[in-house]
Symmetry: C2
Subunit: 499 residues, 2 copies
């Protein structure tokens, strides 16, 4: 946009010393809620992206919203960078500490404040585990729909920060579609109440704006989530294919048949092989790819939908079709999918888990090209993903002790992300940008969009204190990185990004 642009610097240093920070924060927190010895800080040096580690100046673990406001006011006055942390399960380094900053953990705010079965909502604190909401709502026949694989451990506050999805988001949407309102604290300690009990609220849609903003705009201190009626019945169909492209086409066929499955997941032979060795989910080992397609709803709905799904899969050339006959069978089929990442991790010591999203119609094409690249880079890639919404999780396997393998794996990952953008997709579906994909944002967006992001950031956090260096790259970084999005000739794209 035409106004002076806001370029947050990536190096922000406090104007107060660590000692002074500790002194001031001690005055507003109980002693056990502030850690500053190196040994105490160690458990907080990384999140789920453990390749990156840093120690913060201190870790604050407030117990109340008032304490959060007080700590943030101190940081704002002292120009101390702040990184928020939920359960630390994030996969993109969003909660990686900033070495000149404070880490503010929400783990002590873990109360479920209210469940209202008539309004179908739960009001919870940010440290509540995702799965705990559904557990508490079960007595009313309700549940909270978004179900990231980490749902046993991850917190709802982190889900809001990352706009988390899960295997059921095709039908039920992402976090942003399943929350109603939040209490939100800005860097200067101001409290905002955002959203409402109705479908829509007047004013700009700040609720959507802060959802998925990766801790760059402020922190939620209370979340009101929507609850849904637990389906009376759920069944899953397993379909095997002798060709990955055919499985991709079957996904498009299901969507084209006007079915919206509760979940529609795909795994290729490398992934199913790893899973079978790991937990034995009963997947056919001779299939090149399998689909898991779930239907949920009333008895009648599920019965008729499963029949239609089966028909489409047969017509698409499935070599084997199996329908779960009871809840144990259904859970066993899903257990394989949910353990796919650790299972693949046992084949080679390291893997990159990519998170690109592509238009569904590109599935067969993109899978074929990812497969062909195995020869180009002389590496193996297992594919496990949310096929229904086009969210890929290619797992590029390598041994990090071999520099050449590491280098090729980085190139392979970069090529896959470039391919996702090329076919009209995005570099991340649900894991967030964090520190991991910050350079790829330069491929995804042009200068006008990045400028707009910086203007929004400036509106909330003019000194750039919140989660510096994450999620939205500075234009300077993109210039140094040497990659800018090619688009209608407006900007050049001189080099492949280095992953």
């Amino acid at each position: 946009m035409g106004k002076p642009e806001h370029f947050p610097s990536e190096t922000i240093k406090p104007v107060i010393s660590k000692a002074e920070l500790v002194r001031r924060v001690s005055a507003v927190l109980p002693a056990e809620s502030l850690l500053y010895d190196e040994e105490e800080l160690k458990p907080y040096e990384c999140d789920g992206l453990s390749a990156y580690r840093k120690l913060p100046l201190a870790v604050a673990l407030p117990e109340t919203e008032d304490q959060i406001r007080a700590v943030l006011k101190i940081c704002h006055e002292g120009r101390v960078p702040v990184v928020f942390r939920g359960a630390g399960t994030g996969l993109s380094g969003g909660a990686l500490p900033y070495e000149h900053g404070l880490l503010l953990g929400l783990s002590k705010l873990k109360r479920i404040l209210e469940i209202d079965p008539v309004a179908r909502m739960a009001r919870v604190q940010p440290g509540v585990r995702n799965a705990a909401i559904s557990e508490a709502a079960a007595q009313y026949g309700l549940y909270y729909a978004p179900d990231p694989s980490s749902q046993i451990a991850c917190s709802i506050g982190g889900n809001v920060a990352e706009n988390s999805g899960g295997v059921h988001c095709l039908k039920y949407g992402l976090t942003v579609n399943n929350i109603m309102k939040v209490r939100f604290v800005t860097i200067d300690g101001e409290l905002l109440e955002i959203g409402g009990d109705g479908l829509d609220a007047p004013g700009y849609d700040l609720l959507a704006l802060i959802t998925g903003s990766e801790g760059l705009l402020g922190v939620v201190t209370e979340i009101t989530v929507k609850l849904l009626p637990s389906p009376v019945k759920a069944q899953v169909v397993l379909a095997a294919f002798d060709d990955v492209g055919k499985a991709g086409q079957a996904v498009a066929d299901i969507i084209a048949a006007r079915i919206i499955p509760a979940g529609l997941e795909m795994m290729d032979k490398k992934a199913t092989g790893a899973v079978e060795q790991f937990i034995g989910a009963g997947y056919p080992l001779d299939a090149e790819a399998i689909l898991l397609c779930e239907s949920d709803g009333s008895e009648e709905e599920v019965e008729s939908e499963i029949a239609r799904i089966t028909e489409v899969l047969k017509a698409a050339g499935a070599t084997q079709i199996r329908v779960s006959q009871n809840e144990a069978e259904r859970l066993k089929l899903w257990a394989g999918r949910k353990s796919a990442f650790p299972a693949v991790g046992r084949i080679l010591p390291d893997y990159f888990c990519l998170d690109g999203t592509i238009p569904r119609k590109q599935l067969a094409n993109v899978l074929k090209r990812i497969g062909e690249m195995q020869d180009t880079f002389n590496l193996q890639c297992a594919n496990v993903f949310h096929a229904g919404d086009g969210n890929l999780h290619p797992l590029v396997m390598f041994d990090a002790n071999d520099d050449d393998q590491l280098h090729r794996a980085e190139q392979y990952g970069a090529a896959i992300l470039e391919l996702c953008v090329e076919v009209g997709g995005t570099i991340t579906g649900e894991h967030g940008v964090g520190i991991e994909k910050i350079n790829q944002m330069c491929v995804q967006f042009r200068t006008p969009e990045l400028n707009t992001f910086h203007s929004i950031k400036h509106a909330f956090d003019e000194h750039g204190l919140l989660n510096p260096g994450k999620a939205v790259p500075t234009l300077q970084r993109c210039a140094e990185f040497g990659a800018m999005h090619v688009h209608r000739g407006e900007e050049k794209f001189p080099d492949l990004p280095r992953f």
Copy 2:
């Protein structure tokens, strides 16, 4: 927030003369696309809120995105306020011209650019009528879900600006839930591409931010909407009640029975009486209130859901239940609902159509209190509304030629909106704030939220040129209005707002 606050002035005057504006805009538009004689301007003096009328300096009707960008650059340089206009069907005055500004109409951008049945999306220009999208998608068995009552006339660009809903938004969501990406031009003529083909996009959620922003942040020049499979079957249940409170409770019961109807509408006796005189939809005249509850989906789904709906309505005390037996009967039942506003308009010369939204559990309580207020203000109020999502449309009837009636009607309207906020709801569900409810925003929000809105506005439009005086009130206006939201004792609420 803690930084210098941005208070857009409500009086913005260009630094160039009308003659100079006309000269500059003429250079970038065809002659027939620029109107500036008073007579030519007259048709643009108001939108659907015809109580407010103003003439702009000129009306520009560009035919291309490049022309829009060029016109906006001229306005930005000349500090000329700009108001956007779609089909002019808005009910809150969002497209009311600004007397010192340009009105920029999108009516000439009315092409459907692409329909992709596999990706289930349509790419359209902003001037395309809402209903035209579904008409064009029908050949693929698809449709665009949001269906405002004005859907035959209203444009998709206006729907994005207002985040429009409709009778089916309970099940299918508002505009924001049904669009994927847009091309968006800011006041300085910069083009942004926002959103993507996937479920989520990296960076801040600008798509949701601009949806419903009422032309204050920029203008969409192309919209990619989601298409849904047309339901195989739809049926509607009409249920009559001898008490408005019982009908309200029946709505809560349907939701509590874990049913999500495709539509769930309510009308009270005054509304049904007016409709029967007007078009004869077959509503029972002796009922105090009726519900229309629709189910759509596959044959099996609809059959089982209609059975469950009927059972719940019986248990809730319905005195009569009728299920549409064919498409003609279904459309006749809906025709009554859709003509309710003009029908009520025939009882007394004027009415205020309110648009408050309340938590569903408050329905029975709020309806009772709105009914009691008829005595307090000595005026009649008909109730027609989207019961399922708690979006009320009380119609306060009066004769504007009687000053005392007008005054009492304003008081009655204000009291209803205050009641909506009091029970945890909002002042507007789907009609937008515009000019109509600008003062009530001072009741809805506290200073921190209003400040945040102004900061966002400033990030997009630092000179406050876009739609001045609409949607988000200045703090000065709220101070003069004398109403601030009472909330946990942080701000006073000295007076009832004057509607």
